[in-house]
């Protein structure tokens, strides 16, 4: 048996590729602050947290101010509306894509927040998206709300005039 294997292996030449499948499963612990954000999504709300030192509002907060390294303890309920600070029109198909191309992916600065937030922009032709556009969140039906970003279907334009560049230039 051993001799046969040796003979066969020699015939096959050197091994040049080795596939070693690896799979590990992990739990994810969002933590105290991020759990509040996720529970907010479950209620159709954006919950952020304020730094007691620099007063910046983070959404979501991971429990600390990344600038000052101190706990963010004050919860802040943010508006359902915000400003597009920057965007990308996706024209390239990729594996696992769930949205029909072309579509718009944008950074939205929710009113009251100091960090922007990534979301889809819909109900507008892709060539009309622009920086400064005012948008509002469209949520899934109340019965479908979960502690997940899947609760936010997308953002869509409001009737408001565009935001002045000075109001969001610090967040680009």
């Amino acid at each position: 048996m051993a001799d046969e294997l040796t003979t066969d292996a020699a015939d096959l030449g050197p091994v040049t590729t080795l596939a070693t499948p690896i799979r590990l499963d992990f739990d994810f612990t969002p933590g105290v602050a991020q759990s509040r954000f996720l529970r907010g999504l479950e209620q159709g709300k954006f919950m952020g947290q304020r730094c007691p030192s620099c007063n910046q509002v983070y959404v979501p907060s991971r429990g600390s101010c990344p600038t000052d390294g101190v706990p963010t303890t004050e919860d802040v309920l943010l508006a359902n509306v915000g400003t597009v600070t920057t965007y990308c029109v996706v024209n390239v198909p990729f594996a696992g894509q769930s949205i029909e191309i072309p579509y718009i992916c944008a950074q939205v600065l929710l009113d009251g927040a100091n960090v922007s937030f990534m979301g889809l922009i819909q109900e507008i032709p892709t060539d009309q998206i622009r920086m400064g556009m005012r948008v509002e969140a469209v949520w899934v039906d109340e019965s479908d709300l979960t502690p997940s970003l899947a609760s936010v279907r997308y953002f869509r334009p409001t009737d408001e005039p565009d935001a002045d560049y000075d109001t969001y230039k610090e967040y680009l």
């Binding site: 739990d27 429990g63 990344p66």
Partner: protein
């Protein structure tokens, strides 16, 4: 002091803090777990981040199952004012070594070192398999408990230890941990009782295995005037070295630890009497191997904190050995101590740190 010790810039362990060590912290994320530890390590000596010139951390993304978790962890320290910063994908004891080397250059006088790890998020036994050689060993998924059992068996076969020795080490560790409120497994159980445990993987019974622990730790290093300013009784690092053996287990004598012995020689362990030793031996039998390699005699108190058999937070358990040893010198319980940290399967890589009171 040894010849090696005389050539180094004196650096002190100015402050030490560790989290409560628990089986599973399912409430807080890494940042929320670290923040109180960072606050305590600064608060102990009344300083802030502005007082340190360098920050170095030790952790591994394999525990959390996500990339760049060490970057996310920096949120616990904050980026302002900006600091020179580094990270090692190793136990925090090696992060401490990097900071110590930087302090040797003399451009900065203080550094923050921290480490964190949550072993509870995945299957630790499987995760540790991925530290093996990826071609010949890892694909077979040799888990760390089984590999350690092979080492324990080799030790018994060589006549260097018995299963009763493992039970005695586990019993002593967890009894000593009764005095350590941060420890995870604390009880007073006689070795004879422990020997009635079933084998997990023969010859290792449950008591000879470390607990699975979530935890974090931090140390502030100080040199020059800051060392004297921040402590009435500075704890000096007088020797520091780390060495590594081949990754191929079959090429090693698992019953000895030449890398520990070499590191101990360079660090100057034998240059004076050692009062206590904090040994990072996650499996009970490994304490016997490391103690021999360090050249410790029977008078040395080993792991008065309870050691890794009482709390084994991955990536922090080595750094905690250095912190625990330093605390015993600072409190006057010891004048000279040795701390040891290990990494890799079956004591592959070892670090030795000699600490002395003023």
């Amino acid at each position: 002091m040894s010849a090696a010790a005389r050539t180094v810039r004196p650096v002190s362990i100015a402050s030490f803090a560790q989290s409560q060590n628990v089986r599973k912290d399912d409430e807080r994320n890494e940042v929320e777990g670290l923040m109180p530890v960072i606050a305590e390590v600064f608060g102990n000596i009344g300083i802030t981040k502005a007082d340190v010139g360098f920050i170095c951390s030790g952790s591994t993304d394999y525990l959390i199952g996500g990339p760049f978790s060490f970057v996310m962890a920096l949120d616990a320290v904050g980026v302002w004012p900006p600091k020179s910063e580094s990270h090692v994908e190793m136990d925090g004891a090696w992060a401490l070594y990097e900071a110590w080397v930087l302090l040797q250059e003399g451009e900065i006088d203080a550094a923050l070192v921290y480490s964190f790890g949550r072993s509870s998020l995945g299957d630790l036994n499987e995760i540790l398999t991925l530290q093996m050689d990826p071609y010949y060993e890892a694909p077979l998924w040799p888990d760390i408990v089984s590999l350690s059992a092979l080492q324990a068996r080799a030790l018994i076969d060589a006549g260097k230890a018995t299963e009763a020795d493992f039970a005695a080490i586990a019993s002593r560790s967890r009894r000593d941990a009764l005095a350590n409120p941060k420890a995870q497994v604390r009880n007073d159980t006689a070795p004879e009782v422990l020997l009635a445990d079933d084998y997990v993987v023969a010859p290792l019974r449950r008591h000879a295995l470390p607990p699975i622990t979530d935890g974090a730790a931090a140390i502030v290093l100080a040199a020059g005037d800051k060392a004297l300013e921040w402590s009435d009784r500075p704890v000096w690092i007088t020797g520091f070295d780390h060495r590594m053996e081949t990754h191929s287990l079959g090429a090693r004598d698992l019953t000895s630890s030449p890398s520990t012995a070499k590191a101990a020689e360079v660090a100057g362990v034998a240059a004076g009497k050692i009062d206590i030793a904090e040994i990072h031996a996650p499996f009970a039998h490994q304490e016997i191997i490391v103690a021999e390699a360090l050249g410790l005699d029977d008078s040395v108190v080993i792991n008065p904190s309870g050691g890794p058999l009482a709390a084994n937070p991955m990536m922090s358990a080595g750094l905690i050995r250095i912190g625990e040893a330093a605390e015993r010198i600072r409190s006057g319980q010891a004048d000279r101590a040795v701390a040891h940290a290990t990494s890799g399967p079956c004591l592959q890589q070892n670090l030795v740190c000699v600490l002395e009171g003023a």
